[in-house]
Every structure is written in structure tokens, then in C-alpha cells.
Amino acid sequence: MAILLVPLLVVALAVIVLVADLVPAGGTSRGLGALTAIGLFAAFVATWFVPSGVAYAAYSNDGFTEAVQRIVLAAGALSALASIDHADEHFPRRQGEYYLLLITSIFGMTLLAGARELVTLLVAFETMGIPQYVLAAMHKNRKTGIEGAVKLYLTGAISAGITMYGASFLVGTAGSTQLAVIAATPPDAMLAFGALLVLAGMGFKLGVVPFHMWVPDVYQSAPAPFVAFLSVAPKAAAVAALVRIAAHAGSSLPGLWAPVVIVLAVITLTVGNLFALPQTNVRRLLAWSGIGHAGFLLIAFAIGTAEAYAAALFYLATYVAGNTGAFFVSEAVGSKVGDEVSGWNGLARRSPGLALAMLLCLLSLGGIPFVAGFWGKLLLFRTTWNAGYHSLVVYGALLSVVGLFYYLKVARAMYVEPAVDPSPIPVGRPTMVAIVLAVAAVVGLGVAPGGFWDAAVQAGTGVELLERPQLAIPEAGSPAVLGDFPLRKEKGARPRQADPGVEGFPFK
């Protein structure tokens, strides 16, 4: 069971929070947030201590799983931290449920990160998604809050229907729910149809155009700390799911959908950036820009090499840092002055620290050196370049420049415009800590990306099914495979991959 340690820890945390919620604690439930944050952080730390291996043939803990889990848990812990003030202020009597649902969603993600079997994958996918519908509606008394949640729900429901329908073809063609088997099945019309439908369904969580339309509405109306989480974690998990489905030696799936994904990526990049241009609402701006980022992630996914997965992971990490940071600041600032960019005028004079944090996060999102996003884009572009998609790199770079236009618009409001009200904006301590942590990550990843990159490469090559002798897939009626069987003895002793390009310097 040790392999399942992380999901189990998260479930345990859910139980603890559930119980703690029942215990009256001086009339306040603030502690729950701290508890959640600490618990998630503990799970985050625990990812370093989990043995690699496969549990129940349904879940494998490998480098990739761990990386995705770390991203998700970090985002979750930060969001929980930043939620403390928000929840206490806006829905003090629903805090227990709020954190519980957050944890459940994270549980789904941690499971999804390692799911190597379709049932597990789909269940984890829904476990991740369904609590989010509720979380998005946490502002029950706001009409917009409900509206956003309904839009999220409806798009999610139709996506789930499409996914399930597509999955049925996958299972039917392959005769198994094991992803390895599905991926190894020679493609025919039915498999391809199913695979493309699953891809479309997954696109919803990633916010890929044209499954993206809920994104700005939900980002605008849902609780900001939750949005910070929503904007990053599901993307990581969805990428993980797609990678799991696609990653297999000789798998025809990536080849099957690579052209489609490339087209989607280009459309997503374009639409995300174009829509972001005219935005005057910070949250909608971040939403559209997030759609643009999803386009970048798709590119990595389309390339489908271990190096590309590494680049995607790294990109996700930088995106998590920058985007959560930006949303935390927008939570702190937006709750006082609103989310319209004009309300942010003169923030640099009112609260220089907040403005600096926001600036760094925006620069990171824009891909500026010495903050995290630069390396994310850089490594992604390099991978894309090496894969031969030269024009895609140029186009991506072009749109990065377009992106700077709207990020700088916010920067302009904060730094250039005069403040109407010079008083500093009060920020609660937990939110402050969350912001500081996010910004530290932005700067840390930006200044010293080396170690993180190495870790990402390890994780990217560590996808269990990638270029690996096929594992025994339990067929119906075969003797049950109980417990864990280790894939490797210890960390670091993993056999080197055949592709020399993914280790060390990747430019050959």
C-alpha cells in the first residue's frame, strides 16, 4: 500500500477535516484551512518518500506521477492557505465543506497522476471534477457565482458524456481497460474515433479551444483562491491523464492525434491571446491568458517525447507558480478594489509589495527572463524546435509578445497610473504567506532552474509505460495480481533511457 501513500494521505486528510469540522473550535473554522494546507504540504513532502511501483495494476507511482502530484499538491496547499481569509469572510459556515471538497478534488488528481488503467482514470477524473462544480458555486448568494458554476457544470457534463462515449470505444476495441493494452492496440477506425473523443473530453479540463468557453466566466465568478487552484491543478492532472493514455512505446495514439493536437494548440494559442487583448478585468485576462498557456502545453503533448513531457511538466510548474501568485494577489487586491484593471491603478504606491509580486508573476506568465515562465517557454520552445516544428516556435514566440501586451497593461495600471485612494491594501497573513511562497517559487525557478529541469527530465523519462517492456496485464480470470511489484529498486538506479537527448544537455 505504500505505493498509494500519497492518495491515501489525501483521503486521510479529508477524513480529518471532516471530523475536525464537526468539532466546535471556538466558533471559528479558520483552523480548517491551515489544517488543509499543512496536510497537503505533508502529502507534498511525502511524495519524496514513496516507493516506485504499481498498485492493483491500476496505479503506478513513477517519477512522472510524483512530479504531477507535487505540482497539484503545491497548488492545493497554496490555495488552501490563501483560502483561509477568503473563506472566513465570504462563507464562514461552509468552510468545512469547502476544504473537504478541495481535498477530494486533489485526491482525484493525485490518483489521476498515476492512473494506468481506464476505469481508475475516469473515476479519478470525475473525482477531480465533480467537487469543482460545487466549489465554483461556493458564493451561493451571488448570482454570478451560481451562473459560473452552472456553466462549468454543463460544459463538464457534456465533456464527461463525450469522454465516456469515446472511452467505450477504446475499451471495446482493446478489450481491456489497461492503458498499455489500449495504447498497444493497432489503430482502426473505432479506436481512433474513441481516442479523438476522449481527447476532446479531456480538452475541457485543459481549457482547450473550443472547450474553453466556461473558463473566463468561472475564473471571474468563483472564489479567487479556488480559481488559483482551478487554473493550474486540473491542467496538470489532465496533461497527466493524456500522457498516460498516449505514452507507450510504439503507441500509435500520439501519431494518431498529433496533427489534431497541433491544430488545436495553434487555435488555442491564438484565441487565448486574442481574447485576452481587450480584457479589462484582471481575472478574465488571466483566464484568457491561461487558455493561451494551455495551447503551449498542448504543443508539448503533441510532440510526445519524454523530453516534451519534461518540458510540459516544467512549464506547468512555472505556470503554477506564476498563475497562483497572480490570483492570490488578485484575491487580495480585487476584494478591495474590484477586478477591473482600472481599479488597480497606482497599486505600486498603495502597496508596493503586492504590486511587485503581481509584476513578477505577470512577467513570469509573459515569459521574461529571471522569472520562472521564461524557462518554461524556453524549454518548451527548444523541445518543439528539436522536434522540427520550427514555424510553431516562431508563432509561439510571436504570441508571447502579444501576451506581453496585456500583461503590461496590468503592470501599467499598477506602476504608471496614479492611485485614487492612496491607502495601502490590507492583506491577511495566510494570504501573504501564500503570495510570498508563490513569488519565491517564481523567482526561484527563474534564477536557478537547473535542478528543477533535471527533475523534470527525470520525471518525463519516468513515465512508467514509456519505452518499457510491457507489463503483465491481468486478463479476466487470470490469477489476481496482489500488492505492489516494484519497478525499480531504488531511486537513481533507474536504467538509462535509450534516447541520449533527454539526459543532461538536451540540444543534440
Binding site: 528539436n386 516556435v393 501586451f405 506602476y415 543532461g504 540540444f507
Partner: protein, 511 residues
């Protein structure tokens, strides 16, 4: 003394000062300025020390500092200077030192201003001493980015009349406004960076070396077919910053809107980064493509010279005149580079230096004039020499250097470039360049006369005063340097020449 990592010190001095400023309170204006001056003095002293320690008899890259930075990506902290680097380090430290003094009287958010300024200059220093291509790019970006805020916050706006075939654009953009200018500058330059990045990747990838080490890259060589498109990419990328036609249009608006020290630094040093990039990265690393593309580069450079000069002649706004003049003069640099000859390259680097000093001085003066008169229309001025004789003198000095008067640094540079152009067989280039120098004389003298000469000054300028206090430091330093390096070019040419020899040898030129 020699044991110290001087290059790193030069780069980090402003950076550290900026970090310290971050934490000190904004009210302590004196401390801010002392810090700024101290850090620039350190950099200046460092540059001088580097220049003195550099042995021109040996040449090549000296004062190396190497330390692995991101080994897995093949990036290392690999610094060193060649002859070009020495001279451009000197230029940068001179300009920033003067720039700090030129903005001494700034009152609005001065701390933020100096922080950004110092970060920017650290980037500039970094570019000139980087031997690692990636480091080069990073520093390049650092140098480019603070510009947005510097212009958007401390800049000045001036509307441009709506018109032309694309008049509907005015509905959306406040053309001539400082935010417009800042945004245009940033976006155009970053678009250029995208090309640079692509070119960088392509070179490193195709050469098959495991790192961004420029010397290694140069030794191994980039395949010819890759060079053939990488060079134009780098030329356009870096060239955007160097004001290469038709990607120069950020420059007039940007320089016109920027505050004094920023204009000084930007026109004085940053545009040189572009030209330096084209030569140091583009030409040196892509020698074969350079030979093929040089005629294009040269032809465009000639357009730059004449077009920029005519543009300047068409303007009546002082800052726009100075800005177009920079476009024209950067054309001289690019022309020198395109000749692929000793004369031309020496001239190009010398022009970087000379134009840096000259335009730094010009913008400092423009800042002083504008700061007192609050007007930039030259034909609404007149007789200012009465109130500000010192400014008039230094303006004349800068103008003379600009139009290529012997005994001023500009003459040496332009003359060498013309020599190079003609002797490499491009007679038309040389003649066009010389004609450009004449047009320069036309507009520079017209401006000087309109501002400083004549009756006046008009009634509303009764409060004008000459430069005062520390502002003189900037003027005297830059003006003096113009004459020093114009009268005795060997102070600088000895350094530039070894750099040229080293690089020109590598591209197989040097006839």
C-alpha cells in the same frame, strides 16, 4: 587587485545597489543617489581597471571568469573581454555615470527610477562581457525590459497629428504618448528577441556542441545552410534594437518619450547592444552567411543613414531630431559592419563608442533644455544661449561630433567606416554615407541655431537657467571624452583593433 573577478564586479555593482535600494525607504533620497553613484563609480573604476589590465599586445579574450551555472543546459557563467568589450565597457560606465548625474534632480519616485536604471545597466555590462551565448541573451533581455516602466512612468507624451493612409489607427492608439511609446518599444524589441532566441537555438543545436559557449561555437562552426537563415534572423532580431530600417520606428517615439537618463542610456548604449549583437553573434558566428548577406545589410544601413538623417531634418521636435539622428548614426555602425573589413569594423565599433558619447550628451542636454523650457519645439525657442551658455557650448560640441567634425570622436568613426566601405568596393555606400553626414550638418546646425541663437529668449522663457551643480559632471565628462577620443583615437582604437583582428580573422576577412 588582479585577483578580483572584475567583470563580475562590474556587472553586479549596479545590481547589488538596486537590491539594496529595494529595501531602503523611498524618503532617503540622498542615500539612493549615493548608492547609485557609488555603484556606477565601482563599475567605472572596474572598467578602467579592465582597460588597463587588458594587454593589447596579446589580444584575444582576457580576464576570463568561468563557473558552471546550469550544466545540464550547457549554460555557464563565462565572462571575458576582448578589445571590443573593453571599449564598450568603458562607454557604458561613462554613460551611466553621467546618466546618474543627469537625472539628479528627478523628484518623482526617484528610488524606483534608479533601481530600474541600475538593473538595466547591469544587463548592458553583462552583454559586453558574456562569452556564453545564453548569458548574452539573458543580459540582453535584462537590458531591454526595464525600459517599459522607465518610459511609461517617467516619460513624457506628445500627441502626433492624425493622418496618413492609416489614420484610423489613431482611434486606438495615443500615438506619441509615453505609454504608447513604451509599449511599442517593448513589443518590437521583444519580437526581435524571439528571432534571436530562434537563431540561438538553431546555431547551438545544429553545431552539435554541448553548450552555449560562443568560442566553442565559433570553433566548431554552424552548418552553412543553418547559417543562411540564422544570420538574417539575428540581424533582424538584434537589428531591431540597433534601429535597422524598417524596424526603427520604436526609436523616435521611444527616445522622444523617455526621460533623460533613459534616453541617454538607450540611445547611448542600448542601441549599441543591437549592433554589437549583429557583429559579435551574427557575423562572427555565421561567417559564411555574413558574406552572402553583407550586401543586404550594407544597403539597408545606407538607407538608415540617409533616411534617418532626412527624418531628422523633417522634425521640429528636439527629441525627435535626436532620435532620428540616432537611427542615422546607427546606420553608420551597421554600414561599417557590413563592409567586413578592418577599417569598417574598427569604424563601426568606434562609431558605437563615439555615437554613444555624443548621443548621451545630446540627450542629457535635451533633458536640461526640456526640463527648463518645458517645450521641445525648436522653432518656438530662440536665444537660449543667453540664459544657458554652457548648455549651448556642449550642444555645439555634441552636434559637431555628430556631423563628423575632425577632433571629435565621430569623425574618426565615420571616416573609418567610409574608408572601409569604399575600399571593400562599395563606392555608393561610402558616398551615401558621406552625403548623410552632410545632411546631419544641415539639421544639427539648424537646430542649434533655432534653439540657442537669435534674439530672445522669448518672454515665457524668462526663468531659464544654465546647467547647474552635478549636471555639469555629466556634460563635462561626455563632452571631454568626445574631444579626447577624437583627438587621440589610439586610446581606444588600440583596443578595438585587437578585437577586430580577432573576430575578422575568424570570419576569414580582413583584406
Amino acid at each position: 587587485m588582479n585577483g578580483l573577478p572584475w567583470l563580475s564586479i562590474i556587472v553586479f555593482a549596479p545590481m547589488i545597489a538596486a537590491l539594496i535600494m529595494l529595501v531602503i525607504p523611498a524618503q532617503s533620497r540622498g542615500t539612493v543617489r549615493i548608492l547609485a553613484v557609488l555603484s556606477t563609480v565601482v563599475s567605472f573604476a572596474g572598467s578602467v581597471h579592465v582597460a588597463l589590465s587588458y594587454n593589447t599586445a596579446i589580444g584575444g579574450v582576457q580576464l576570463r571568469e568561468t563557473m558552471p551555472l546550469l550544466p545540464s543546459l550547457g549554460i555557464s557563467w563565462n565572462l571575458g573581454v576582448d578589445g571590443w568589450g573593453v571599449s564598450l565597457l568603458l562607454l557604458t560606465s561613462l554613460i551611466i555615470f553621467a546618466g546618474v548625474f543627469a537625472t539628479w534632480t528627478l523628484e518623482d519616485r526617484d528610488k524606483d527610477f534608479y533601481i530600474l536604471l541600475l538593473v538595466l545597466v547591469a544587463g548592458v555590462f553583462g552583454v559586453f562581457v558574456s562569452l556564453d551565448l545564453f548569458l548574452f541573451f539573458l543580459f540582453y533581455e535584462i537590458a531591454v525590459l526595464p525600459m517599459y516602466l522607465l518610459i511609461a512612468i517617467w516619460g513624457s507624451s506628445k500627441g502626433v497629428k492624425e493622418g496618413g493612409p492609416l489614420a484610423f489607427i489613431w482611434k486606438r492608439f495615443d500615438i506619441g504618448g509615453r505609454e504608447y511609446a513604451a509599449m511599442k518599444l517593448t513589443l518590437m524589441l521583444l519580437l526581435g528577441s524571439a528571432f534571436i532566441l530562434a537563431g540561438m537555438f538553431a546555431m547551438v543545436e545544429s553545431s552539435g556542441i554541448g553548450s552555449f559557449d560562443m568560442e566553442e561555437l565559433q570553433r566548431v562552426g554552424v552548418p552553412r545552410d543553418v547559417q543562411m537563415w540564422v544570420f538574417p534572423a539575428l540581424w533582424l532580431g538584434f537589428g531591431t534594437l540597433a534601429g535597422v530600417f524598417p524596424f526603427h520606428t520604436w526609436s523616435p517615439d521611444g527616445h522622444a518619450s523617455a526621460p533623460t537618463a533613459v534616453s541617454m542610456l538607450h540611445a547611448g548604449v542600448l542601441m549599441k547592444l543591437g549592433a554589437f549583437g549583429v557583429m559579435r553573434v551574427g557575423m562572427v558566428l555565421c561567417p559564411e552567411a555574413t558574406e552572402v548577406w553583407a550586401p543586404v545589410v550594407g544597403a539597408v544601413a545606407v538607407i538608415n543613414i540617409v533616411y534617418g538623417a532626412l527624418g531628422a531634418a523633417s522634425q521640429t521636435d528636439l527629441k525627435y531630431i535626436a532620435a532620428y539622428s540616432s537611427v542615422s548614426h546607427m546606420g553608420v555602425v551597421m554600414l561599417g559592419a557590413a563592409t567586413l573589413s578592418v577599417d569598417g569594423w574598427n569604424g563601426a565599433v568606434y562609431q558605437m563608442f563615439a555615437h554613444g558619447l555624443m548621443t548621451g550628451l545630446i540627450f542629457a542636454l535635451v533633458g536640461i533644455v526640456y526640463g527648463r523650457a518645458h517645450n521641445r519645439e525648436i522653432f518656438q525657442m530662440g536665444g537660449f544661449a543667453k540664459a544657458m551658455p554652457g548648455v549651448a557650448v556642449f550642444f555645439t560640441l555634441a552636434g559637431l561630433s555628430s556631423l563628423g567634425m575632425p577632433a571629435f570622436a565621430g569623425f574618426i568613426a565615420e571616416f573609418l567606416v567610409f574608408l572601409g566601405a569604399w575600399s571593400s568596393g562599395h563606392v555608393v555606400w561610402a558616398v551615401a554615407g558621406i552625403v548623410g553626414a552632410w545632411i546631419t550638418a544641415v539639421y544639427v546646425l539648424r537646430a542649434a541655431r533655432a534653439i540657442f541663437w537669435g534674439e530672445g529668449p522669448p518672454e515665457r522663457y524668462s526663468h531659464l537657467s544654465d546647467a547647474k551643480g552635478v549636471e555639469w559632471v555629466a556634460l563635462v565628462l561626455l563632452g571631454g571624452s568626445l574631444i579626447l577620443f577624437g583627438s587621440w583615437p589610439r586610446f581606444l582604437l588600440d583596443y578595438i583593433d585587437v578585437g577586430t583582428a580577432q573576430h575578422l580573422l575568424s570570419i576569414g576577412g580582413g583584406q
